[in-house]
C-alpha cells in the first residue's frame, strides 16, 4: 500500500459544532478542516510534526510547493484526458501526462527530509524499477516531441471552400504588427486567446493530414497505459499536501505579525502547559495585535472563567481550543512553547441562538451537555461558553456545579466561561480577565487566576477623545510601532 504524507488518518471524532464554535472555518479551508476532524495518537503527532518541521524550512517549503503544483497539473490533465472524445487532444494530453508523471516523481525524489514519512514516500516512488520506467518514458518522449512540434501548427484558407494544410512557417499579420509596435516602444504582452477544443471534423482532418506522425506517436505511447493506477495514487497526495501547505501559510502569516509558533512536547501525563498562546482566528477579523495568554492545567482539571464583557474570555477558550486541536493533529501551535497531553477528542458548547431546535434555550443546553457527557471520555477536553444563562442564577449555578462535578469525577480537563461571578465561591479554580488598575477599567485581555470574590465591573469609563498630551504621545508611539 502506498505511504501517506499524513502517516495515518484515524476516524473523524471532532464534530462540526467544535469547528464552528472555535471559528476554525474562518482561517482554514474545508480540506484542512477535514484533516483536523481526526485527532491523532502520540506517534502520528510526532511524525506529522517532523513533516511540518521540514516544510517550514525554506527548502522544504519550496520542494513541497513544487511537488503540489506538479501534482495539480498532473491531476488536471488526467481529468481532461478522461473527458476528451478527440483523438488529437488525447494524444497531446497523453504526452503531457507522461511529462507530468516524470516531473512528480523527480519532485518526490527532491524531498530531502530524513523523517520517516517522507523517507517511506521517497523509497516507494523512487525505487530502481520506477527509475527504469522513467528512463524509458524519457527516451520515448525524445522521439515524440519533435513529431508533435511538426503537427501542432497548420493553416486554413477560407474562401469558396475551406482548406486545411500543413504550415509553411507563414508570418502572421499579428506578429508583424506586434514587431512594429514594439519598435516604437509599445511592447504588447502576448494576447491569451481562449483555448478552443477542436471539433470532430477538424480532429478527423488533422488525423488525415498527419497520419504517419500520429501513428508513430501512438506506438511510442502504447507501453505506458499501465501507469494509470499509479498516477491516480499520486494525485491522492494533493489533499494531504494542501493541508500541510495551508497550515504552513498560516504559520507564515503569524510570523509576519510576530506571533510565535512551537511544536509542543507530547506529554505522558495529563497536563496542558502553554506559554503565550495566541488566538489566530482573530486574523480573520484583521486583528493582529493579539494579547497572548498562558494555559496551565496540571493539578486542577476543570476551570471556570469569569470577568467583564468583552474582556477576552471567549477569545481565551477559543485560543486554547484551536491550539489544542492543531496540536492533536500534529500541527505547530501558536505559542512560545508547550507541553500537552494527547487528548482523544475535544468537545465544545458555545451559545447559538438559532440552534435550539424548537426547544427552550435551557432545555436545549441541558440536553446538549447531557449528550456530550454521555460520549465524553476521561481523555477528552471540554470547552463550554456561557451555558445555562437562560435561567435564574440559582438554577444556572446549580447546573454549572453539576457539570463541574461530573467532569471532575471523570477527570475531564476543560474550561467553562460563565457570567455567574459567584462561582468563585465554589471549590473549582476560577480564572478572570485583567483590567487596568486605574479607573479607566481598560481591558488588558490577560487571563489570570483569582482566589477571592471579585465582581465584574459593570460600567466602563472611557476617554472620549484621548486628546490630552500623554494619550496623544502614547497613541503616536503605538502607531509608529
Amino acid at each position: 500500500m502506498k505511504p501517506s504524507f499524513l502517516f495515518k488518518r484515524q476516524n473523524a471524532c471532532i464534530s462540526s459544532e467544535v469547528i464552528d464554535d472555535l471559528h476554525i472555518s474562518d482561517i482554514l479551508t474545508k480540506n484542512a478542516i477535514s484533516v483536523l476532524r481526526s485527532v491523532c495518537d502520540r506517534n502520528v503527532i510526532l511524525e506529522r510534526q517532523a513533516v511540518f518541521k521540514y516544510i517550514l524550512t525554506p527548502e522544504g517549503k519550496r520542494a513541497v510547493s513544487d511537488l503540489i503544483d506538479s501534482l495539480r497539473e498532473l491531476s488536471k490533465n488526467c481529468n481532461l484526458y478522461r473527458e476528451s472524445m478527440l483523438f488529437i487532444e488525447k494524444v497531446f494530453l497523453n504526452i503531457k501526462i507522461l511529462e507530468n508523471y516524470i516531473d512528480v516523481i523527480e519532485k518526490i525524489n527532491n524531498l530531502e527530509s530524513a523523517n520517516t514519512v517522507i523517507c517511506s514516500i521517497r523509497t516507494f516512488w523512487c525505487n530502481d524499477e520506477k527509475v527504469s520506467v522513467i528512463r524509458g518514458i524519457k527516451e520515448s518522449l525524445n522521439i515524440i516531441k519533435p513529431i508533435i512540434g511538426s503537427i501542432s501548427v497548420y493553416d486554413i484558407c477560407i474562401s469558396g471552400d475551406v482548406w486545411v494544410t500543413r504550415d509553411k512557417s507563414s508570418v502572421s499579420f499579428s506578429d508583424e504588427l506586434l514587431s512594429n509596435l514594439e519598435s516604437i516602444g509599445y511592447k504588447h504582452s502576448i494576447i491569451e486567446q481562449k483555448l478552443r477544443p477542436i471539433d470532430i471534423e477538424l480532429d478527423g482532418i488533422l488525423r488525415k493530414l498527419f497520419e504517419n506522425e500520429l501513428n508513430e506517436i501512438e506506438q511510442n505511447l502504447m507501453e505506458y497505459k499501465q501507469l494509470e493506477s499509479e498516477i491516480s495514487d499520486l494525485t491522492d497526495y494533493i489533499e494531504e499536501l494542501e493541508f500541510y501547505l495551508e497550515i504552513t501559510e498560516l504559520v507564515e502569516l503569524a510570523a509576519g505579525k510576530q506571533v510565535p509558533i512551537c511544536f509542543p512536547t507530547v506529554s505522558d501525563e495529563k497536563i496542558v502547559n502553554i506559554y503565550n498562546a495566541y488566538d489566530i482566528t482573530l486574523f480573520a477579523k484583521q486583528k493582529y495585535d493579539i494579547v497572548p495568554n498562558d494555559v496551565s492545567m496540571i493539578k486542577d482539571q476543570f476551570y471556570f472563567i469569569i470577568g467583564p464583557n468583552s474582556g477576552g474570555k471567549t477569545t481565551y477558550i477559543r485560543c486554547v481550543g484551536v491550539n489544542l486541536l492543531l496540536f492533536l493533529c500534529g500541527c505547530p501551535i501558536f505559542a512560545d512553547n508547550a507541553t500537552i497531553y494527547p487528548f482523544d477528542c475535544i468537545y465544545t458548547h458555545f451559545p447559538q441562538d438559532d440552534q435550539t431546535h424548537g426547544k427552550g434555550r435551557l432545555d436545549y443546553e441541558v440536553e446538549r451537555i447531557e449528550s456530550i457527557m454521555t460520549n465524553i471520555s476521561a481523555d477528552s477536553f471540554l470547552i463550554c461558553n456561557e451555558i445555562f444563562n437562560g435561567t435564574t442564577e440559582t438554577i444556572g449555578l446549580k447546573l454549572l456545579m453539576d457539570l463541574a462535578d461530573r467532569a471532575s469525577e471523570l477527570e475531564i480537563f476543560g474550561f467553562c466561561v460563565t457570567h455567574y461571578s459567584s462561582i468563585i465561591q465554589s471549590s473549582y479554580p476560577v480564572l478572570s480577565v485583567k483590567t487596568s488598575d486605574d479607573d479607566s477599567n481598560k481591558r488588558l485581555y490577560k487571563i489570570y487566576r483569582v482566589y477571592s470574590k471579585q465582581q465584574a465591573k459593570a460600567i466602563d469609563i472611557i476617554k472620549k477623545y484621548n486628546m490630552d498630551y500623554q494619550s496623544l504621545i502614547q497613541n503616536f508611539k503605538m502607531i509608529k510601532e
Partner: protein, 493 residues
Amino acid sequence: MSISLLHIDKTNFGIVDDATIYNLEIENSFSVIYPNSRERKSFMTVLRHPLLNEASILYRQNTIKDFINNPALLEELDLCLRGFKDIVDSHKVEKRILHRAQASNFFDKSSNEARDILQMNSLTTKKLLISLQELYSILKKYSIIADSLISVRQKLYSIVETDSFRNIIETCLFFEHFSLNGNVNCKFTLDESGKVGICQLISRRYVSINNPELSKKKFGIFNKKTDDTDKKDISVKMNRLNGTMSEKLMISSILDVADIFENFIQELKNDFYDLYEELSFYKVSLKYYKYMSSLGLPITFPGISDQDEQIVDTIYDVRLITQADDVKVIVPYSLSLLNKNDNVIILGDNGAGKTTLLRALGTMQILAQAGLPIVAENVKVKIYNCILSQFSEKEKDFGEGTESGRFEQEVCDLKSIVDKASPRSCVLLNETFQSTNYEEGSEALSDILRYFTYIGASWILVTHMHEILKYLPLDNMKTINLEKGFRFKDSIL
C-alpha cells in the same frame, strides 16, 4: 510609466484636505480669476495633491514658464490634444454602439461583427497616429525648456519618426477595408493539451508548384488547389457552414488583430489622453499669472528651501486681491521664519488681519507646492507632506448647537487633524477653542500644539488667547502681534 505634463512621479503626493481648501477660500479666489468651472475643478484637484520635492515643483514651474514665453503653444496643444481625446471618446461610443465593449467573448461573435470591429479599430488607430504626428510637429515648432514638454516631444519622436510608424499606418489602411469576400488565410497552433490556442490572420500563402511551366510563378495554393489533385497529402478540404469550426477559427483570427489594435489604442490613451486634462491646470495657472501681472502686482516663482528656512517677502493674500475694488490699498506682509521657528502664533486685535495673514501663508504654501508662482516679491518655502487646517466655526452655520456642542465639534475636528498629521505636516489653526473659557481652552490647545511639535509637524495659530503663551515653550516658535491698521492703509474689510 506614462508621460505627464504635471508629474515626474505620479505616486508621490502630499495631502491638502478639503477643509483647508474651503477655509483658505482658494476656490472662491480662483472662481474670480477663472470662471470656467470644469477646468477650475481640474486645477483644484491638482492643488489637493501637493508636490513633495523640489524637482517635481521645478518640473511644473518650467512648464508654466514655457507657456508664458510661448503664448500660442498652450492654445495649439489644447486644440490638438482635444482632437486626440475626441477620437478616443468616439471610439468608446462606437464600441458601445456595436455592443462589444471588449472582445472577451469573441467566439460568440459573427464574422461580420468581427470584421466591423477590425475595421473600426484600425481606423481609430490610424486617426490617433495622425493626431500624434500633428502634436509632434507643434512641439517641434517652439523653443521649450520644460522637461515635461521635452519628454512628450521625445516620446512622440520615438513613435512618429520611424519606419514602423509608417508600417503601422499601412497596416491600418489595409484592415480599414478588410473584406470577407476574398480569401481569408489563417494560421492555427495547437497548444500542449491539443486545443486550438493561437489563431492569426496571415497574408496569402504561396508554395512552389513542382511544374516546369509554373515553376517561375507562385500561386496561392488555396486558390488553385482542388481536392482531386495529387497534392491531397498537403491540404484537406473542410466543411464550410455558418457557425462551424472553420468560421469560428476565422473569427478569432480576425479578432486577434483587432485586439492588438484595441490594446494599442488603450495604450496610446494611457499615454496621451490625460494630457488634455492636465492642460486645464496650466490654462488656469496662466490666467492667474496674467491676472496678477495685469494688476501690477509682483508675481514670482518661489524657491524651495533646503535649510528649513522660509522667506516671505512682500506677500499678498490672493483672496483679498480677488475681492478688492482697488488692489493698491492692500498692504503686503513680510515674514521670515528660521529653522525651529516654523511654529507661529499670530496674536492681535479684532480686524487687525490675523486671519488674512494666516490665509495668505496657507494659500502661498499650497500654490508653491503646486508649482505655481506666488503674488510676492520673493518667496522661499519649505515642503510639507500634509497641509491641514481648522478654522473657528463662528463663520459657519451652527444650527442648534450649544456652546458645549460647539466645543465638542471643534475637538472632533481637531481629532481628525491629529489623526492625519505626520512629521512635516503644516497645521493652520484659526481661533481654535475660542468657544470655551480662555484658560481651559489655552491649556487644552497647548497640549495639542505640543503634540504637533513633538511629532515634527509645524503649526501656525491665530488666536486672541494670550494665556496660551504660558503653556508653550517659546524657543521654537515665533509670536507675531498684529495691531489694528497694520494691515491696511484703508481697511476694506
